[in-house]
Symmetry: C2
Subunit: 243 residues, 2 copies
């Protein structure tokens, strides 16, 4: 039967989601745990190929397995074989043709910036520590241009090849609690490094290196060089996938 | 001059605050960073000797050093020599006879329990994962007996020797947000493992192995065996020190 497994992970110690030859991926570790759980080799399809160091609070995989374990108890068994930085938390039976990657209709990411002089060991695994003061109101004005259906070519890492660079950003929200700035983005899909380029560009708007209107110019001229840096992976977390 | 340095640390990778022969302590790492900062050997006095795996959001040290670095900039320099799981965040000049350990008037600890079926990689370094349902109202009723000045002999690990086992608990608060239970305790001083025995005992009240009134009985009969287990170190954080 086809199963749909939900996991969370702290991506600090992994080369990303996708299996690689010379580095440890979340996919490889998960497939190893599933092999121990079901007694057969399992290949999973993941909803999103997160980069090295990126985290997920909800990551969904689909795969086939035959088992007598009640579906609701599968996370408990899989967790016995997973390291502490990856945890399964939910499993359900899916339609036979369900594909966790292609069936995803919408994903939400959150990029977190800790905007204070010194980093915080309680947060540092999951934030970008940025010690220079950021003007969140200016960042919000820049963020407004990103919402909607646009050609996001300027927000895509060089060298990636996709059929179309048009995506629809349905929500882009900036919240500040004490010194933690959370940039939450909800879209039907993402280009390679898109959220990290959005975060790095909004950061440059916040520190004064760019103006809010430069975000509009990036979208119009479709030039990556007009934007800010690609923000580092540790601040990024995949928060939610909708099917 | 005498200095008062404030640090935070994730204690996961340390044998505790106090310097030890065959294991890495926070004190050893901090003294190493201070030696590089000031160019001379520094010995610090810490406000609290946290156990292996216990964390601190505010830990205060006193020490003597001669330097031309402006006092407010010392954390910035010390942080260059500290690992990411220890961060200095404030420094000030103290009175010549200030002693971070003996001058402490009150300390606040928080013990965090994640009460849900599966652990959470975003929280797991700083919580005790406890999968069995806990009755927080019962725990609160047990906690009420602890507040006040009492002989806490029953809440002290065997083998520790102190002049008196009387301490004053000024506040003991239980809060639950989603599945996270926070036990906050504020006292003039603590016995060895006291907070972890309080947390483990309240946990046994919450799961039904003990009744709230058993906490009263522990205090009256002064017997450690009447209580619950010593809760594991990862859930404990020193939150605040008052001078």
């Amino acid at each position: 039967m086809r199963l749909k497994l939900f996991i969370k992970y702290d991506g600090t110690n992994y080369c990303g989601w996708q299996r690689q030859k010379n580095a440890l991926s979340v996919q490889e570790v998960l497939e190893g745990a599933l092999e121990k759980t079901f007694g057969e080799k399992i290949t999973v399809v993941g909803c999103s190929r997160t980069d090295a160091g990126v985290h997920a609070r909800m990551h969904v995989s689909s795969f086939d397995a035959e088992t007598t374990i009640p579906v609701g108890k599968i996370p408990l068994v899989v967790n016995m074989y997973l390291p502490q930085d990856i945890r399964a938390f939910y499993c359900e039976k899916a339609a036979d043709d369900f594909n966790a990657r292609f069936a995803a209709k919408e994903k939400t990411y959150c990029y977190r910036i800790l905007n204070q002089e010194h980093n915080d060991p309680f947060l540092s695994r999951f934030v970008w520590h940025y010690p220079i003061a950021l003007d969140v109101d200016k960042m919000r004005r820049g963020a407004e241009f990103i919402v909607g259906e646009h050609d996001f070519k300027a927000f895509c890492a060089a060298g990636s090849c996709v059929k179309t660079t048009v995506r629809e950003v349905r929500e882009l929200k900036l919240e500040k609690n004490e010194n933690l700035i959370e940039i939450t983005i909800r879209a039907n899909g993402y280009l390679y490094n898109m959220v990290r380029i959005v975060a790095g560009t909004l950061c440059y708007v916040g520190n004064g290196k760019l103006e809010p209107e430069d975000v509009k110019k990036m979208l119009e001229e479709k030039k990556r060089v007009l934007g800010g840096i690609t923000a580092p992976p540790e601040g990024l977390t995949l928060e939610k996938v909708v099917y």
